[in-house]
């Protein structure tokens, strides 16, 4: 199905308004076209001094007044209907894209730049709405105007009407040719502008680094060079774009001239039927009216094109494949917390197999630490446990139940999670802490924050627990953000925990306290800890050592040291021993 059809499908719930808009457009425009006729009639009754038919004129004036009221009302209602259609379509589309994002597999979100997806939700949907608005207002009234004037012209003189009808699309043709001509320069300009934008983003965004390397002059030269290229291409594109308007106006002027000449000749020699002077002037004004919609449509053509392109980008998201439906799977509320991995195989891309054959049995309440060099794929295991990604073969069992048979939401609720990048949401601190469990009382929240050593700094904030977190949480330090995430997980009180390098950006003194709190939290809970600092995980029940995406060793700290393998080398390199 084409993008246009899909957009039209989106307007379906607002059919009534579309019909109304059509009706009002037809009513308004046809009356608008009729008014000049009435004005002309009125003037015809003012023949000369002493020969003015006041009665007739007054009658016409009243008629014009009445029509005027109808025109104003129908124009206003049409405007409102159009607005409602567009605003609601935009709203529905945004809601759908947003909903879709939460249904897509995480691999989709991980592999698409977020800025791009956000721009689809905001700019692209907006562009569809704008395009829709143009189509309804310009196209509807344009069609009615064209049909109306056509009828009026045909009723005056068929032959000359045909001349006008044949000539007018010329302006569309000219606009089309110009459009094609400038398409290339516009593309070039777009591309160069993109290049400049990313250069600016890079250098201005890292201006401090530029200064550190005394690189200002060199970057200025690079920028100047790009900028002067932009001047050349931009000038070409702008001028080409600016051609359209005068050129179509020129075609219209030519149509006017030809109609005038042909009409005048017809009036003189009747070689194309009969035409009176009054009819000729009427004809000329209709010829002008008739060409106007063509111009306006060519004017908004680019906007409509943009809307279709934007719609395509929106539907691309909407039509991507969802996470498989699991509404019929099991719900699980209470678990002991035994987790078993059986012969897991996994890879993100088919070219590179990561986990080849991993098995592990974790008893309820045990602490599992995952260690390894940067980029070795430590978070992969977390992705699999939480079913952010699905294993390719093998199974993960919780209390003997295959996680694939459990509803994803139900499974994920069993875990408390603190991720590498502390993620808070706009709202107050209290709202954020209550995120996982809306039924928590204030006392429970405060208790959790005390445990997470967050209470004391929250209390010092301007509005305490009701302090609003600004965008990007700029009013909190990295350490504070992480403490809040920990408190949030504590408030949830889950049977199992996932801690992903949770303490890496808290200074070491705070970390000691958090470690203590964690220990308390982990008691009796099965937990997975991804960590850099070997000193913090020595007491773990099981240590998984990862390298190059796969688990290469597992065992306790003592066992692994004895084995003198990868873990041993990793551990020893931490300290200055030759």
């Amino acid at each position: 199905m084409s993008t246009v059809k899909k957009i039209i499908r989106y307007t379906k719930p607002h059919r009534l308004y579309i019909l109304l808009a059509l009706f009002f457009a037809a009513a308004g425009v046809s009356l608008t076209l009729y008014i000049p006729v009435l004005v002309g009639n009125a003037i015809d009754f003012m023949i000369e001094k002493g020969a003015v038919d006041f009665g007739r004129i007054f009658g016409i004036i009243v008629q014009i007044g009445i029509y005027l009221v109808f025109i104003v009302i129908s124009q206003w209602l049409m405007g409102n209907c159009t607005n409602i259609i567009c605003a609601r379509t935009v709203r529905d589309m945004r809601n759908d894209v947003f909903k879709k994002i939460n249904r897509l597999p995480l691999s989709y979100i991980d592999s698409h730049p977020h800025g791009d997806l956000i721009s689809r939700i905001t700019n692209d949907v907006e562009a569809v709405g704008d395009g829709l608005m143009q189509v309804i207002t310009q196209l509807f009234s344009g069609i009615v105007t064209i049909l109306g004037t056509l009828i009026f012209m045909l009723s005056i003189n068929v032959w000359i009407a045909v001349v006008v009808v044949i000539l007018t699309p010329l302006s569309v043709l000219v606009a089309g040719i110009i459009g094609k001509m400038c398409a290339k320069s516009f593309r070039d300009q777009q591309q160069l502008q993109g290049e400049i934008s990313s250069f600016v983003e890079e250098t201005v965004g890292n201006q401090k680094l530029v200064k550190a390397f005394a690189y200002e002059n060199r970057s200025r030269q690079q920028f100047s060079e790009m900028n002067s290229r932009l001047f050349k291409i931009g000038l070409r594109a702008q001028f080409a774009g600016a051609l359209a308007n005068p050129c179509t106006r020129f075609v219209n002027n030519m149509v006017y001239a030809v109609t005038g000449i042909v009409g005048a000749l017809t009036a003189v020699s009747a070689f194309m039927g009969v035409l009176s002077i009054g009819q000729l002037s009427c004809f000329l004004s209709y010829a002008n009216q008739y060409t106007k919609p063509f111009n306006e449509v060519t004017g908004v053509l680019t906007q409509i094109q943009t809307a279709i392109a934007a719609g395509g980008r929106v539907f691309e998201v909407l039509e991507s494949e969802d996470e498989p439906d699991d509404s019929k799977s099991r719900e699980i509320r209470q678990v002991k917390g035994d987790i078993e991995f059986r012969h897991i195989k996994f890879s993100y891309t088919p070219e590179r197999q990561l986990i080849k054959d991993f098995s592990l049995s974790v008893k309820s309440g045990q602490q599992v630490a995952i260690v390894g060099p940067t980029g070795c794929g430590k978070t992969t295991l977390i992705n699999l446990i939480m079913r952010f990604y699905e294993v390719q073969s093998g199974e993960i069992l919780i209390d003997g139940v295959n996680t694939k048979e459990i509803k994803r939401d139900s499974l994920r609720k069993l875990f408390g999670m603190v991720l590498q990048e502390s993620r808070l949401f706009s709202g107050t601190i209290m709202e954020n802490l209550r995120y996982g469990n809306p039924n928590c009382t204030d006392e429970e929240i405060i208790k959790a924050s005390k445990l997470a050593y967050a209470h004391s700094f929250i209390r010092k904030m301007p509005d305490g627990y009701n302090t609003r977190i600004t965008e990007g949480a700029t009013n909190l330090s990295a350490g504070q953000k992480q403490l809040l995430c920990i408190a949030r997980a504590m408030a949830l009180n889950p049977p199992m925990l996932i801690l992903d390098e949770a303490t890496s950006s808290i200074d070491t003194l705070t970390e000691i306290r958090v470690q203590k709190a964690f220990k308390k939290l982990m008691q009796g809970r099965t937990s997975f800890v991804v960590a850099h600092r070997l000193s913090t995980i020595k007491e773990s029940d099981i240590i998984l050592v990862m390298n190059d995406g796969d688990v290469v060793e597992q065992g306790t700290h003592g066992e692994l040291l004895k084995r003198r393998g990868f873990y041993y080398r990793l551990y020893k390199s931490q300290f200055e021993e030759e």
Binding site: I61, M78, A212, A214, S426, L492
Partner: protein
């Protein structure tokens, strides 16, 4: 907008010629109905086919001349606006390059980027639009009003009042809808914020099963936006019917009073035709003008934002531009009673005095927010000290030209940023004349040789085609190219595993003719340093080697024991 006029000074000719050409086109357009009238009066009535063809030729000629003069204007407008835009862009880029860290912090990067891109584009579009339309629309309005006055002074009163009312309606609708548009913008911002949160925090959202709550939040906002849009639409939908009503109301009045004047012989019926067509012309021109005003006010806001940047002056200025000669045998870096505060708040650094000897390896350790990175900024003179002095090679940093001071220091930032290009283009940042051997040598030292065998390997923007650890090592290598005498590493080992870090540290220690200052939170990084500075709350808590500090400095000991066991620390 006016403040930006200096960028237009090279385009005086185009600025005059362009609008004049457009005006000429408009005048020609006014001639067309007159010529047509001639065709009717002299051609048709006198049955003169030759005359009809001749005047028809004039019509065609008018169209052609009109087109060419319009094209001249379009070209002038494109040339001027594109040229001025280019100049503004260059000037702004240069200006940003001159700003110091304080101003960059205040202006913020995203806002600078918008100003640099979309704001300049808006101003550029504005210049072009103004040149094309600003003369034409008022000309048509004034022309119509003048013509009306010539035809009949009394009836022209209708024209003046109708024009005033239309202007008033345009003004009212626009000023009333302005706050709505602001609300719309705010709502769109909220939607994009929610989307960003939803994407960035998607793992957390799914982990907490909060998809429905997120959906509700977005639906609340989209519903709100839809309501505002409908409401503002209701207002702006008034615009065209209202102006239409006023125009045709005026036409009714013209007919009514005109009929009397025709009857009394004061006017001819042809005059009424002219008056009616001038009235509709005013309406059209008014609408163009209104759109132009909206556009101009938007452009004006952009111009204002651009000006804001130009008005900001760098707080840290280059005082001397000639090279200075370092003092022999002076310590590499020396702080004398340095205090520093970012704004009016508490001191970020307080009364720091210490020296860092040539060719030593110095560690700076402390908790988050203790002022470690600030201290480094002062060495590079990103900020000026509030009191006290900083010396590099015995010379006050204020006496250095920026390029000499910063050019001799290799910097590895906290955030590993690489620039799009190739590995080589990144490695040439420190020293643009470095040879491939020097680069490979630096890569070797930075433990990056293992994953770089081709210097022409492309680097994506932000270096995203390298892993975090690889990026960090490339950043270290970049600072080492050209063997700068002083290298500053700001928490630059965070993404490295311990094995790599250790190899790297050993390689750095072998560079006997270089001074290293390393900021870190890891004890293991600084254990073997020649000197360790312990910072807490901007104050120097301790200074010495690992062994000394362990005995004398409580804060250091506490940090140590949080990371190492007692026996490991004592080793």
């Amino acid at each position: 907008m006016f403040k930006l006029r200096r960028f237009l000074k090279d385009y005086k000719l185009q600025l005059v010629l362009g609008p004049l050409c457009k005006l000429f086109e408009a005048v020609l357009e006014l001639f067309v109905p007159l010529v047509m009238a001639q065709i009717i009066d002299n051609g048709i009535i006198k049955n003169d086919t030759g005359y009809i063809l001749k005047m028809g030729g004039v019509l065609v000629l008018l169209a052609v001349v009109g087109l060419s003069s319009a094209l001249v204007c379009q070209y002038m407008a494109s040339y001027t606006s594109q040229g001025a835009g280019t100049k503004i862009r260059d000037a702004m880029f240069e200006h940003i390059g001159n700003l110091s860290h304080k101003e960059l912090d205040e202006l913020t990067t995203p806002s600078l980027i918008t100003r640099m891109t979309s704001d300049i584009n808006a101003v550029q579009a504005n210049i072009a639009m103004t040149m094309r339309l600003l003369l034409r629309a008022p000309f048509l309005i004034i022309g119509a009003l003048v013509m009306a006055c010539f035809i009949n002074l009394e009836l022209s009163l209708i024209f003046f009042s109708a024009s005033l009312i239309i202007a008033l309606i345009l003004y009212l609708v626009m000023s009333k809808s302005l706050p709505f548009y602001r609300a719309v913008q705010k709502s769109v911002d909220k939607i994009s914020l929610l989307s960003r949160e939803n994407l960035g925090g998607n793992r957390i959202i799914r982990a907490f099963s909060k998809q429905d709550a997120q959906q509700k939040a977005i639906e609340k906002e989209t519903e709100k936006l839809s309501k505002i849009s409908v409401r503002v639409g209701r207002l702006s939908a008034l615009l065209s019917p209202a102006t239409y009503a006023v125009t045709y109301g005026a036409v009714i009045l013209i007919l009514y009073f005109g009929a009397g004047k025709v009857n009394s012989g004061e006017l001819l019926s042809g005059d009424i035709v002219a008056l009616v067509s001038y009235m509709t012309q005013i309406l059209l021109a008014m609408i163009v003008l209104a759109n132009l005003v909206v556009l101009l006010s938007r452009g004006n806001a952009s111009a204002g934002r651009i000006n804001e940047v130009f008005e900001v002056q760098p707080s840290v200025r280059e005082i001397k531009t000639e090279k200075v000669v370092p003092t022999e045998n002076a310590p590499k870096v020396e702080f004398k009673n340095v205090s520093f505060t970012y704004g009016d708040g508490d001191n970020e650094l307080e009364d720091l005095s210490f020296t860092i000897e040539k060719n030593s390896f110095t560690g700076i350790i402390g908790t988050t927010g203790s002022g470690k990175s600030t201290l480094l900024s002062l060495i590079l003179r990103y900020y000026d000290t509030t009191s006290g002095e900083v010396f590099v090679d015995g010379v006050n940093v204020r006496d250095y030209p920026f390029s000499q001071l910063r050019g001799q220091i290799g910097v590895v930032p906290q955030k590993s940023v690489l620039f799009s290009g190739t590995v080589r283009s990144n490695m040439l940042w420190q020293n643009e004349n470095a040879t491939d051997e020097e680069i490979f040598d630096a890569l070797e030292t930075a433990q990056a040789r293992g994953f770089v065998d081709d210097l022409d390997k492309t680097v994506a923007q932000g270096g995203t085609n390298f892993s975090g650890g690889q990026r960090q090592r490339l950043c270290i290598a970049r600072a080492l190219v050209g063997s700068p005498k002083l290298v500053i590493l700001d928490d630059s080992f965070s993404a490295l595993d311990f094995a790599t870090e250790k190899a790297l540290r050993n390689a750095l220690l072998k560079k006997n003719d270089m001074t290293f200052i390393v900021v870190t939170q890891r004890i293991s990084t600084v254990m073997s340093a020649d000197k360790i500075l312990v910072l807490e709350d901007g104050k120097l808590e301790g200074e010495g080697t690992h062994g000394e500090l362990l005995k004398t400095c409580g804060a250091y000991r506490e940090i140590c024991l949080s990371q190492l066991s007692e026996s490991e620390a004592e080793k």
